[in-house]
């Protein structure tokens, strides 16, 4: 029997001295303990694995992990690590989350205690549980898991560390670090899980985009106009778009060099934007192909400001409606479709008149619909570019527009560009 080989394997899995492991193994083997039992025993002695299972956890490449596995051992590089507090069965628990990788792939993890590894470390994780999260395997590092530092670096074709541009953040990201300018911030009092809590909320931006943020443990460095580095933040979905969360575990540092915030929103096809599942600040172009019901001269509930029909609010019953102007236009570029919602100001500029003009027109025609008809006659068919916040949920894809203007690109130029791209003509 090759005790050396088994000792090597164990020592590296456990991160302890090989000679010591070999001695322990040989000692047990003298008593004719089967090698698998002996290894389990040594593993347990050194704080590894041994959650009572009778099988050695499988040693796997990350790409081969499936949700069918129960317990596994992997040798990986730590890509990211984020800290978060969660309430689990009435108790506050601090967990670490992030991604591991080897050369075959990446996998998310949740560690229920501090194992001490940091991004960039190469480690062997022994006896990690496998659970399913949104159809993908995820590693669960608990009491029975061992983590051993490897001296040989695990080479990975992935970036190490959580530094990202805002455009690359997605809901579910943990342990991210961003350098941003605080575009706007306000203090708010919310009724949180521990009663009234002060928080900060607002908008941050960098050269790639803007996102809303919440600071659950207000950091004084976060002030309007200041540039800051936010380390160890996590990303959640808020109204269909990513939102950055700063917590008590985040480090906030003021930056000397100011971060420039982009003036323009990222442009993409409507199909891609809708598939992305919501974007805080995006520019979409397409044709207005319809103006939906609920546009034009509408009435809102004086209590809740929601649009009402026939003087009846869904929450407040019969109310005295307050007039307003609004447009809900279907914008479609052939790859996707969304409803662009234009508030009073943008609607007035399309309509070419204010609320009083609209009321006069409705009175004269004895029909409020004439306002929406005029707006439709102005918009339908033409190409527009809308910028704002896109949400995608059970109510469909809706863009709350801050800006809305006709596409003024010369079609002849667009045609020449397309031909050049195809390699035909000029």
């Amino acid at each position: 029997m090759d005790v050396d080989k088994h000792a090597d394997e164990l020592a590296s899995a456990l991160g302890v001295d090989k000679e010591e492991v070999k001695e322990d193994l040989e000692n047990l083997l003298q008593y004719s303990v089967p090698i698998d039992e002996a290894k389990q025993s040594v593993r347990r002695k050194h704080g590894g694995g041994g959650g009572g299972g009778d099988a050695t956890p499988e040693s796997l490449d990350v790409a081969d992990l499936t949700t069918e596995h129960d317990n596994v051992t992997v040798t990986v590089r730590v890509l990211t690590k984020g800290t978060r507090s969660i309430r689990y069965q009435g108790e506050d628990i601090t967990i670490r989350e992030g991604e591991f990788a080897d050369e075959t792939g990446t996998v998310s993890y949740t560690a229920w205690q501090e194992f001490g590894f940091e991004p960039g470390d190469s480690i062997t994780v022994g006896n990690a549980g496998v659970r399913e999260w949104e159809g993908h395997p995820e590693l669960n590092l608990g009491d029975s898991t061992s983590v051993a530092l490897e001296s040989d670096e695990v080479e990975v074709p992935y970036g190490i560390g959580g530094e990202r541009d805002l455009i690359d953040l997605e809901p579910g990201d943990r342990g991210r670090t961003v350098e941003v300018n605080v575009v706007e911030v306000e203090e708010r009092t919310i009724d949180g899980r521990d009663g009234e809590t002060e928080i900060l909320s607002g908008v941050i931006g960098d050269e790639t985009g803007r996102l809303p943020f919440t600071d659950w443990d207000p950091h004084p460095e976060i002030e309007t106009g200041e540039s800051v580095r936010l380390a160890d933040v996590y990303v959640r979905e808020y109204r269909g778009a990513p939102s950055v969360n700063v917590s008590e575990f985040s480090t906030v540092e003021a930056l000397d060099a100011p971060v420039t915030v982009t003036d323009s929103a990222p442009s993409m096809s409507i199909g891609d934007a809708v598939t992305a599942g919501g974007l805080f600040d995006v520019a979409l172009s397409g044709n207005v192909i319809e103006v939906r019901d609920g546009s034009g001269l509408i009435e809102r509930c004086p209590e809740c400001n929601r649009a009402i029909q026939n003087g009846e609010c869904r929450s407040h019953g019969d109310v005295e409606g307050v007039d307003d102007l609004r447009t809900k236009a279907i914008l479609d570029d052939g790859t996707g479709t969304c409803t662009v919602i234009l508030g009073r100001e943008l609607t007035e500029s399309i309509y070419g008149g204010d609320l009083d003009d609209a009321r006069d027109a409705a009175r004269e025609a004895m029909d409020r619909e004439v306002v929406a008809e005029d707006i439709a006659a102005e918009l339908v068919g033409d190409a527009y570019r809308a910028r704002g916040s896109l949400s995608v949920d059970e109510y469909g894809a809706n863009l709350n527009a801050d800006a809305f203007e006709p596409v003024d690109e010369d079609p002849e130029t667009a045609a020449r560009d397309l031909l050049a791209e195809l390699g035909v003509g000029a």
Binding site: G271, T335, P411, L418
Partner: protein, 234 residues
């Protein structure tokens, strides 16, 4: 103003040229339910529930007491649209508009097969029609060409793959190909046996239409190829 599409999964308005829409003869519904969407599948695999076209309104005719028929002409042919009593706004628009006028038309794709004929006609049941300008028409030509060229490229890859039917659809699902094309292309191959000669003819049509907008050409040639020419089943 037309009926509200409501929230949720609104059908995207597809862009395609009239000549290709005119060649379509397949329509189907995803299920037997009354409200299940109906689709027209074109020879290059566009699966069209709703379409958006911009062209010149050249004629308006009274077809019967209630209905008007309008022809909306793009550089390749004509979209035919019928507005009846259930499309009062569109009916009124056609009634008052003096051709020729640039118009934008969006609506539902339909096929119709007269009892005494083996030809299938396509038409558009309008959801909105509005007057637009020449630039809007030209921009539409460029976007219809873009969508058409993208579709043909995917179709050609599908032909090359040798996969058909459900296998092809399954293969598409592992890629980023638009789900509507993933459904439409296998059906088009099965129904039309669309071949490379037709794909090339539609490609040429699209390029010529763009060249016309770019000021490099006066007219676009006719689409004379039949979908099945050079097809996998020939």
């Amino acid at each position: 103003m037309s009926a509200d599409g409501g929230p949720g999964n609104r059908e995207v308005a597809r862009r395609l040229f009239a000549a290709e829409f005119d060649d379509a003869s397949l329509s189907y519904s995803e299920s037997d339910e009354e409200r299940a969407p109906n689709y027209v599948v074109t020879p290059t695999g566009a699966r069209v529930n709703r379409l958006f076209a911009v062209g010149v309104l050249t004629e308006v005719e009274q077809v019967n007491e209630d209905s008007l028929r309008g022809r909306v002409v793009d550089p390749t042919g004509a979209f035919v649209t019928y507005a009846g009593q259930y499309q009062p706004d569109e009916h009124a628009f056609l009634n008052r508009t003096e051709p020729p006028t640039f118009v934008a038309l969006s609506g539902k794709a339909r096929t119709f097969e007269p009892e005494d004929s083996d030809r299938v006609f396509t038409s558009v049941r309008p959801e909105s029609i509005n007057e637009v300008d020449a630039d809007t028409r030209d921009r539409w030509v460029v976007s219809a060409a873009e969508r058409t060229l993208y579709r043909i490229a995917i179709f050609a890859e599908a032909l090359d793959s040798g996969l058909r039917g459900d296998d092809l659809r399954a293969a598409f699902e592992t890629t980023s190909v638009d789900p509507s094309l993933a459904a439409g292309i296998p059906k088009a191959i099965e129904h039309y046996g669309t071949g490379t000669a037709y794909l090339e003819a539609v490609r040429e049509l699209a390029v010529e239409a763009v060249e016309q907008v770019a000021g490099e050409r006066d007219a676009v040639g006719a689409l004379e190829a039949e979908p099945g020419e050079g097809g996998p089943s020939n």
